[in-house]
Amino acid sequence: MDALLRMQVLGRIGNIIYRHSQLKTTLLSGRKIPYLRLHSKSFTEKSLLRCMNSVVNNDVFRRTYSITAEQNEHTSLTFAFRCHDNNPANHTIDQEGLFYTVPSEDYKRYLHKAINTEFSAQVKVFAESCIMIRKPALEMIDYIRNSDLNRPVARAIFYGHTGAGKTMSLCHVLHYCSKENWLIVHVPWPAKWNKRNREIAVSPFKEGRIDLPLDAAEWLLHFRTQNTDLLKELTCQFSYTWSKRESTESGTPLIDIVDFGLSRNKFASDCVGVLMKEVKKYACDKRVKVLVAIDGVNGLYSQCALKTEEKENVLIENVSLVRTFRKLLNTDWSNGFVVCTVDINASHYSTRENHTPRYLLGKQGFEVMDPFIPVQVPIYTDKEIYSCLCYYSDRNWIQHPNGKTDEGLKEIIFLSNHNPYTLARVCSSR
């Protein structure tokens, strides 16, 4: 008998040691285990423990016990929920609802900053990063694969209810493109640049612009982690003069500009602008394919809560980072693809009634983005939710034995209302 099962059995018996009657029913129900058929009065804790080892070695006991243990644990959670093909390029609609594992180096490189706190917490707990293959992401990958890159960039928008999985779909697309060796311009959550109490600075490039040096540096670091190899290959096509003493000649690798931005935070925002200009140029020259992925793109078109030192409200158009990334949404370049999500939470508090792109982007944003491909991210279907529950059960995220019964699963599904985010919250111990 293997050590693991032995420990398990001993642990379980230890729990019921104080209940003689229960013990009798559990262990002695019609089984012929002569060692344990004792009168209840002689059934002390000590003698029980002493005889446990010999009992556990008993063949009959082992068979019956291990079988019942398995029966208890798998009621209706018997679906196959894992996809063993971890390359997003090979995923098809047949694998819908299955979980594929993002290798940990890929996760650290591409997705670490991309995802919300709920998922990153899960990754930590589950010791693996698994993403469910869902229809919206597959649809988007299909669009990217079949798009004509010679034409001006196509824009696509994921939209859906809060917690429906827009960001996760974006991550799936991101993983696909990074595996296809695209250059990735990923903006995790531009809405956070609109929040109050950020460190701001006056732009050295142009009067009236506002820089966010720390945020820009953070983004540069993220950009560098995602595209280290490509940035080393590509070189500057123009030369730039930052100040009297600092300048960048044409021909230096783009990674040097990133490093410069990181070391001189004052110019970080300008570095972002320069990089985007270079990237666009490279894309137009067909040197590199570019994926622009912006999570919560309506954050670029909402109200800004920043204030200058004179306590004046900052217009969102004057934030240099916002300006830079807005330019990427225009159709004046090619050999790329723009995938965005619109999210209620990226909007201003006053405009959170509807989750559709037109409402969230507003007039200004919609005019820029139009025409775009809308892809709705729906809540889970029955197949998907059972797959997810299997996964949670497998990862011991659902621990209570009643949670694994049919009634328990029904309750969980009812409470979550098929919403992926709520499902994760309901299953966790609140």
Binding site: S21, S29, R37, H39, E407, E411, L415, T422
Partner: protein
């Protein structure tokens, strides 16, 4: 007392006829110290009540009757004669009443008597026991115990000296049964036959132990609440035993069936809509919210609240409110729900929908489930509402802080 006993012995020795002797002695006793203690009182009583038949027997030393027995017999005789007299009066009164009412006296029963009394002596008194009535003497006068001891003064019952022989005897019986079951269980374990007995366990669902009053009546003994609790405890222990089914008859003797309250409610039959689908409607209220819920049978668990799905309620605990009745009757994904709700906040709205939902579900479930719903409090309206604010204080109950109160008082004083 000592003095009187002395007199008694002296008189005995003078060999007077015993009847006179006792009379003489008793009168003296009663004159001396009538109210001093029990012995004298009993002596007096004994002398007063002694019947002719016993007097002769007492002369015969072989057949002694204890004082207690004599006392008891006397009491019994009085009681019986009183009851006989009362019954006679009752019978005569009944016939008389029948004649007044112009009915047949022979077939005139208790119900007729009650009716006649109500007609002849109408009373507006609220308390029913205070109204005029005419009952059989056996109902009016309390029953008395049989003699607990023989003529020689030896008690019949082995628990006589506990003071409450019937009660303690019962407890003893229950305990003996319990011990017996224990012994049987041990025997079964030894023979390895216990597994067969597992599923025979006795459950008295829908039964209740007889109440304090009934037990007192049954045992004809005064039983304190503590003693009643003890009785329930012991009985409960017997019921919990694995082999309690062997004593089912005994246990049923001390329990009575409880009428389920929900049986009194009329259950509406499900309606059928144009598509031939069964549905039922109900309304519910809580705080200031009103909800109307339509439950469709044989559904797939779809929910619509004011046109939205369950996302209408953002919080988990609000969804749990709706889950509760469905889960209790195991209908989570077996019915479709359409609800409209208005007024109030989210908790009021969930409460209103929950009430309406539970009522609507009653049409599709069996009586047991309805009873479970009722016991869970799902069929009861929550009557709590917002309490109004009172003048002179900041809230419904909240009082001003002491400082503010002082300032207010000061201002009032200034005005006055």
């Amino acid at each position: 007392m000592a003095a009187s006993m002395q007199t008694f012995s002296r008189v005995c020795s003078t060999k007077h006829p015993i009847k006179e002797l006792i009379r003489w002695q008793i009168t003296k006793c009663s004159a001396l110290d009538r109210h001093k203690n029990g012995v004298h009182t009993s002596c007096r009583l004994l002398a007063d009540v002694i019947p002719e038949t016993f007097e002769q027997k007492t002369e015969n030393k072989a057949e002694k009757i204890s004082k207690a027995m004599r006392l008891y017999m006397e009491r019994a005789k009085n009681y019986n004669s009183m009851i006989d007299k009362e019954i006679d009066e009752y019978e005569v009164g009944k016939r008389h009443l029948a004649n007044i009412m112009g009915e047949d006296p022979d077939s005139f029963n208790q119900d007729d008597i009650d009716r006649a009394i109500k007609y002849l002596l109408p009373s507006g008194l609220f308390e029913k026991r205070a109204r005029p009535q005419m009952k059989h003497p056996y109902e009016v006068f309390p029953q008395r115990k049989e003699a607990l001891f023989g003529k020689d003064g030896r008690p019949h019952h082995y628990q006589f000296y506990t003071g409450k022989p019937n009660y303690h005897g019962l407890l003893h019986d229950i305990n003996m049964k319990y011990e017996h079951l224990n012994a049987t269980e041990t025997e079964l374990y030894k023979n390895g036959k216990m597994a067969e007995e597992e599923d025979k366990k006795l459950f008295l669902h829908g039964f209740q132990w007889i109440d304090h009053k009934t037990l007192t009546k049954q045992l004809i003994e005064e039983i304190s609440p503590q003693e009643y609790n003890r009785f329930v405890l012991v009985l409960h222990r017997l019921l919990k035993h694995k082999l309690s089914y062997k004593e089912e008859e005994f246990l049923l003797k001390y329990s009575k069936k409880v009428m389920t309250m929900s049986q009194f409610r009329s259950i509406e039959k499900p309606l059928i809509d144009s598509d031939g689908r069964e549905y039922s409607e109900a309304t519910g209220r809580r705080k200031t919210s009103n909800a109307t819920v339509t439950v469709y049978n044989n559904g797939s668990g779809q929910i619509s609240i004011n046109g939205q799905d369950l996302a209408y309620f953002k919080d988990i605990h609000q969804r749990e409110q709706l889950l509760f009745p469905l889960q209790l009757v195991n209908k989570i994904d077996k019915v479709d729900i359409v609800a409209t709700v208005e007024g109030g906040g989210s908790s009021g709205q969930t409460g209103a929908i929950r009430l309406a939902l539970a009522h609507a579900l009653c049409s599709f479930v069996d009586t047991d489930s309805i009873e479970r719903l009722r016991l869970a409090g799902l069929l009861t309206k929550d009557p709590r509402t917002r309490e109004r604010k009172k003048p002179g204080q900041p809230g419904a109950r909240k009082k001003p802080t002491w400082l503010v109160f002082l300032i207010l008082m000061y201002c009032q004083l200034l005005v006055v």
